[in-house]
């Protein structure tokens, strides 16, 4: 790399002939590289300042104000936060979101891993299966699928009738506060294809010799999975757990559409962002909504930090990997 850089030279032709760059030429080139770098980066830098960093600071400020968008924000200290902790609907939204994340994410990842392991035993038709299983991840977030979901889980529709065959009659999940959240869990599990594709790529990297050696030592399928597959794909597993968890904290569209824009019934699908939306955009409580957003950020940061901390214990990176 170092030698390559001395060969690369944008300096004018007269100095370039010498090749062994003088300190002055090096400095000039360094400055030109800096200028070029920041020019190429300028859209991102503008976007970062205007649409990310600036709004984050503003949001932190709003969190400590009473702000309805029309009058200027009024500083109220920690009132939004104390109000939030006392608010039964906020508590409910935390509960609903936690339930959704804790049930949905592991189920989705288990299914993704299971199906990836099934597909990894390369057989005929594998590419087709892989593509078909991936399709729901592309359409799952659409309003169309939200409608389809609501219909399939309605009273008298296919899920209800199938369930009734097994002697448990609910009368449609979407109308029942005890059941509707599970229809959202089913919707996210249905989109297992995206993490599956990543697992599959990871499984393909596991050297076959390891399995053959283990089989010769008499290790059964469970031992092989536990001692070879799992450690070998742990970086991929970590990546999937991190991404899926953060992603599912932020569920909005499907909860909103499947619940008929109500996030109900009885707040049963009042996911965190849905309550944030109602407070910010329906009740014009911009300060309260900003405070809620910062609590979400803290929760996501905490989960991310815990996952990164825990990876020392269970994620196995190969030493010779770059």
């Amino acid at each position: 790399m170092g030698t390559a850089v001395t060969l690369v030279d944008d300096a004018p032709p007269d100095t370039r002939q010498t090749r062994s760059a003088t300190p002055a030429a090096k400095k000039r080139r360094g400055r030109r590289e800096n200028l070029a770098g920041y020019l190429f980066m300028s859209p991102w830098i503008a976007g970062f300042l205007l649409l990310t960093a600036g709004p984050m600071v503003a949001s932190l400020y709003f969190a400590f104000t009473d702000y309805n968008l029309f009058d200027s924000p009024k500083w109220i200290g920690f009132d939004n936060f104390t109000r939030m902790f006392d608010d039964p609907r906020w508590q409910k939204s935390v509960e609903v979101t936690a339930k959704y994340v804790v049930i949905g994410t592991p189920l989705k990842l288990l299914l993704a891993l299971g199906v990836a392991m099934l597909l990894a035993q390369s057989r005929r038709g594998q590419a087709l299966y892989r593509a078909a299983f991936y399709a729901p991840s592309l359409i799952g977030a659409s309003v169309s699928i939200g409608f389809v979901w609501r219909t399939l889980f309605s009273d008298g529709a296919v899920v209800d009738r199938t369930q009734s065959l097994f002697g448990s009659h609910v009368g449609g999940w979407v109308g029942d506060p005890d059941w509707i959240l599970y229809s959202l869990v089913a919707l996210t599990v249905w989109q297992f294809g995206a993490p599956m594709v990543i697992f599959l790529a990871g499984l393909k990297q596991v050297p076959r010799e390891l399995y053959e050696a283990a089989a010769m030592d008499g290790a059964g399928p469970f031992r092989r999975f536990w001692n070879i597959t799992l450690p070998m794909i742990s970086p991929v597993l970590f990546f999937n757990v991190l991404l899926e968890t953060i992603h599912s904290f932020q569920i909005f569209g499907s909860a909103y559409v499947v619940s008929n824009s109500q996030c109900g019934p009885a707040d049963a699908t009042l996911v965190y962002t849905c309550y944030l939306y109602q407070q910010g955009f329906k009740n014009a409580q911009m300060g309260f909504a900003s405070a809620m957003a910062w609590m979400l950020l803290l929760a996501v940061a905490l989960v991310t930090a815990v996952l990164f901390w825990s990876q020392k214990k269970w994620v196995h990176y190969e030493e010779d990997a770059q």
Partner: protein
């Protein structure tokens, strides 16, 4: 590969064929398992196709996947539009949003990625970690202040708030994808070009971009689909039905017609709204399968 192939073969030649028999049952179990997953996964998609040809009263209650007497009334009804707005208007709006997003992402993310991957400038490691940090940032923290800003600038009810981020490379995922791709291009290419007197802009445009085609195509497809499916952005920023995207048009359809009365129409419209993504997917599927084949060769 050849090793694992040889072993069962030698077993089969030695004894009659217990190995082959086991492989056949194994294969059968595999296919039964895969087909079972396939049936559950594809059910909603197949269902929506069949249901869009059913009369409204049968949409929920009929368990037949495809109606005995398919009708076209649901689709014909769509031609009337929703609340005096033609379906085509929603499609044009969504198309504008999706294609506008694709153009923005391709330009801004590739420029940023080029800087990260190919230019050695001071502070690039710091900026790169900031960029990765935004990948994990929940969008909702920015939602309120961005809305306040666009409201003050009187840009609510325009497409500016929806599109501007795409032109300012705020979609860190695509920057990251392109950086990873550009890093793997041979450095010698730039060096040769530089000796010929090319500056960064020429190298970016004539050498790096053409070689990044796969990453650009992947980014373009994902951007199009994300914009097409986007619901929260249009919900917050657009408030005039003539400007609605397909997602909002669908919501308006449901709220205006009364769900029970025109269930068939709603399902037909849902199918029509899914079609562009499904078509993109069918085109994209080839990429998946080709990628599969090449990774199979390497492995």
């Amino acid at each position: 590969m050849s090793h694992s192939m040889r072993r069962p073969m030698s077993v089969t030649t030695a004894k009659k064929s217990p190995g082959l028999g086991r492989r056949r049952t194994g294969s059968l179990v595999w296919h039964v398992g895969a087909l079972a997953v396939l049936a559950v996964v594809l059910y909603p998609v197949v269902w929506v196709i069949g249901a869009s040809f059913k009369p409204s009263k049968d949409v929920i209650n009929s368990l037949q996947l495809f109606p005995g007497h398919p009708i076209l009334a649901n689709f014909k009804g769509l031609a009337k539009g929703i609340a005096d707005i033609s379906i085509w208007t929603f499609f044009q709006n969504s198309l504008f949003y999706a294609l506008g997003s694709v153009a923005g992402i391709l330009i801004s993310c590739s420029l940023t990625a080029y800087a990260f991957a190919r230019i050695r400038f001071a502070g690039r490691n710091l900026l790169f970690s900031l960029m990765i940090g935004t990948l994990l940032l929940p969008y909702h923290v920015l939602l309120i202040p961005q809305y306040v800003m666009f409201q003050k600038l009187q840009l609510v009810n325009t497409y500016v708030p929806l599109l501007i981020g795409k032109y300012l490379a705020t979609e860190a995922f695509f920057v990251f994808l392109m950086v990873q791709f550009m890093r793997n291009l041979p450095k010698e290419l730039d060096e040769a070009a530089r000796l010929d007197g090319c500056g960064h802009l020429r190298i970016y445009w004539s050498i790096v971009l053409p070689l990044c085609r796969p990453a650009l195509i992947t980014s373009a497809i994902f951007t199009f689909i994300n914009a097409w499916n986007d619901f929260m952005g249009p919900l917050i920023y657009l408030n005039e039905p003539g400007k609605y995207t397909v997602s909002l048009g669908l919501m308006m359809f449901r709220d205006s017609d009364g769900v029970a009365a025109n269930y068939g129409g709603m399902i037909a419209m849902s199918l029509v709204a899914l079609l562009p993504v499904l078509l993109f997917f069918l085109a994209f599927q080839r990429y998946l399968i080709d990628g599969m084949a090449t990774s199979g060769l390497k492995g």
